[in-house]
Amino acid sequence: MTRQLAPQPPAKTNRSPGQSGKVPRRRWTARSRRDFFVFLAMALPNLVLIAVFTYRPLFSNVYYSTLDWTLGSPTATVVGLGNYVTFFSSNDAPKVLGTTAVFTVVTVGGSMLLGLLVALALNAKVRGTTFARSAVFAPYVLSGVGVGLVWLFIFDPGYGVLAWLLRGIGHQSPQWINDPQLSLVMVILVYVWKNLGYCAVVYLAGLQSLPQEVMEAASLDGANGFRRFTSISLPLLSPTTFFLLITTLLSSLQAFDLIRIMTPLGTGTSTLIYEAYLQAFGAYNRAGYSAAISVVLFAILLVITVLQLRFVERKVHYS
């Protein structure tokens, strides 16, 4: 059945299941026309904004990905899928995709797991939880640039706080910034630290909305704390987990500020989004190639979101 835009009163089509005739068209009354214009007045500004600031760059980016274009140059050559072929056949692709996968899996897993543990601790009825909750959440609202700069000072192998502490016990600091593997570890640690507060607060809200009578019943039946957590709390928290999985996954795949500040060359930390940045705005100025990498990232985000909505959501238990 066709859903009408703004019909008043509700339509009656009088169409029987076997009937193949056209749906009768309804005349627009003065009221329905007025309602439609109200709808347009309210929706159009947003639609225009979305079209200009979301879809226009999206389509432009897809178009640019088919060009061999040096950023800043007024001319370019159409290369079709050439930039995609170059990316996937280069040594860059496995490196960049691997780094993206490691960064995403560890940061999403780490933030959610630690966030859940912190939420369980904050859910305990002890003194000081309000302060602890604020303290845990605070890094999430801080600027990524500021956080990156402060942590760089902590990690600096020359005169950082960590190096100073390690020297105190007779050890040299690892080369956090110059070693690509350690750079990735460093950025992941800081990212998880910054974002676990978000997961903790969302999980805490989920924990506090769990039905207490079910917990009490389980306790009376002899279920211990661990059993209550694994068999009741965790399944009931699945909508929260699902929500966090989507939001943290998307934000992790788009993480930029910490990587930019802590490892400007992207050595060892070049995820898809950072590689796209480096290729266009770093030293190379390959705007078309960068656009192709951005489209690859967009496709990955789209696939993940669709998969999550189609399959993961089915496993979610809504109370």
């Binding site: 979305i50 020359g158 030293a283």
Partner: protein, 449 residues
């Protein structure tokens, strides 16, 4: 009138409109001309053109030069009351300012009249057609081009035209901690060769208590720039003209020596952020940093600072110092009026008095031969070493300054060798292939025959 617009139709219409808008917005570069544009070498006629009343000057304030830039602008405006110069902080370093400039080029709006451009960026601006030759301006404004330090002005010459003028120009300088050298019983001078420093280094490390005898400049900085010194000393280089020679026996030997100083002899390290800061903090007894870092080091170091020429190597003891730093250029995408006002500003800030003032405030080299440096040298005698070293500088390898992204690739290769103990020969072979690929694709088609 009857309207038949259900939600599906409406969304379809909206989709078509959005798609049309999106496609219409696919402006970007022109794909009809084929190939890439290069700057037009034709002289621009400024006869009868009136200078613009207001221009923007984009700077990254090299060598913490914001205050002296403001002072120069005030003096320029006092001399030219009809022109107002707006100083814009367009980035914290050469790469950030280049990023902003390239983005403005792509957006075709918001371009400045004068832009700071580094040694590795101006040629790209030329190949993109983003800057104009300044010859007709220098002629019209009667700028004394032969008064510029020749090695510095020649850096911006291509295709018989002058594409920029030198501004914050530097060379690397050898900085050493005089107190550490004295404690180790070493002479109060920079080493003549790296081998000599290799003999000094264990004594230095033992006597000074510093973490390193020498620290290599941060790889995220300009590793490709400073490492040229070692490569040339050993008889190698990044490239010879357009032939990439970074995998030659000599180049590999130089970088092997550098790797050994870290992993085998264990007296050297690699800076994580800024070697000049590491040196000022006493983390190392010596380093190589830009002359633009000189005043900053002298201000922050709590010890006696010595400076000297860069050490030579087994094959070349002298002429192993690259020039570097930034110049000033004028964009092509602005009006003639703005270009003329920009030319007048260029003329003013490169006057002997202006370059002496800039040099005194930053440590960068005076770009004019006739600059009176007596007062500056009386206050900061170390600048004389930088000026003297200018006579033994060498033009940088093409691979570093003309290949887009080459500096970044060199830094990555250096990181592999100096921080992950990667095999030098295979790393350099890989780098050679990358650099040749960049040359063939991005540069060769744009070179003048």
């Amino acid at each position: 009138m009857t309207l038949h617009l259900d939600r599906r139709h409406f969304l379809g219409l909206a989709g078509v409109t959005a798609s049309a808008a999106a496609l219409a917005a696919c402006g970007g570069p022109s794909t009809t001309g084929g190939g890439q544009a290069t700057s037009q070498a034709a002289d621009i006629d400024f006869n009868g053109v009136k200078p613009a009343a207001k221009i923007d000057f984009w700077s990254s304030h090299p060598g913490q030069s914001q205050d002296v830039e403001k002072s120069l602008i005030e003096k320029f405006q006092a001399k030219n009351p009809g022109i107002s110069v707006n100083l814009v902080t367009a980035g914290a370093n050469y790469e950030e300012i280049a990023q902003k400039f390239q983005t403005a080029q792509a957006a075709k709006s918001g371009l400045p009249a004068v832009v700071v451009l580094s040694d590795v960026w101006w040629f790209r601006y030329y190949t993109n057609g983003s800057i104009i030759p300044v010859d007709s301006l220098t002629k019209q404004l009667d700028m004394k081009m032969d008064d510029f330090q020749q090695s510095l002005i020649n850096d911006y010459e291509y295709d018989g035209k002058q594409w920029a003028v030198p501004y914050g120009r530097s060379t690397p300088l050898f900085y050493y901690n005089k107190d550490h050298f004295a404690a180790a019983g070493l002479p109060d001078r920079a080493p003549k060769t790296w081998d000599e420093f290799g003999q000094w280094a264990p004594k230095l490390k033992a006597a000074s208590g510093a973490q390193y005898a020498y620290i290599y400049p941060a790889l995220a900085g300009y590793a490709g720039w400073t490492l040229q010194n070692m490569l040339w000393g050993w008889g190698g280089g990044w490239s010879k003209e357009w032939d990439i020679i970074c995998d030659s026996t000599e180049s590999v030997a130089a970088l092997q020596w550098a790797q050994d100083s870290i992993y085998k002899d264990k007296w050297a390290g690699v800076s994580s952020k800024e070697a000049a800061d590491d040196f000022s903090a006493g983390l190392t007894s010596a380093t190589i940093a830009s002359t633009g870092s000189l005043l900053g080091i002298l201000k922050s170091a709590k010890f006696n600072v010595g400076v000297g020429f860069l050490p030579g190597g087994p094959k070349a003891a002298t002429n192993v110092c690259p020039t570097g730093g930034a110049g000033l250029g004028i964009p092509s995408g602005i009006s003639k009026e703005e270009q003329l006002a920009a030319g007048m500003f260029l003329d003013f800030v490169t006057q002997p008095e202006s370059t002496a003032e800039f040099s005194a405030a930053t440590g960068y080299m005076p770009t004019r031969k006739s600059a009176d440096m007596k007062a500056v040298l009386a206050k900061t005698p170390q600048i004389q070493t930088a000026v003297d070293q200018l006579a033994v500088t060498k033009v940088q390898d093409n691979a570093r300054v003309f290949l887009p992204g080459a500096d970044q690739e060199m830094a990555k290769a250096a990181a592999k060798i100096l921080t992950q103990q990667g095999d030098v020969k295979s790393t350099m072979t890989e780098l050679k292939a990358t650099l040749e690929g960049i040359y063939t694709k991005d540069v060769k088609p744009k070179l003048k025959a």
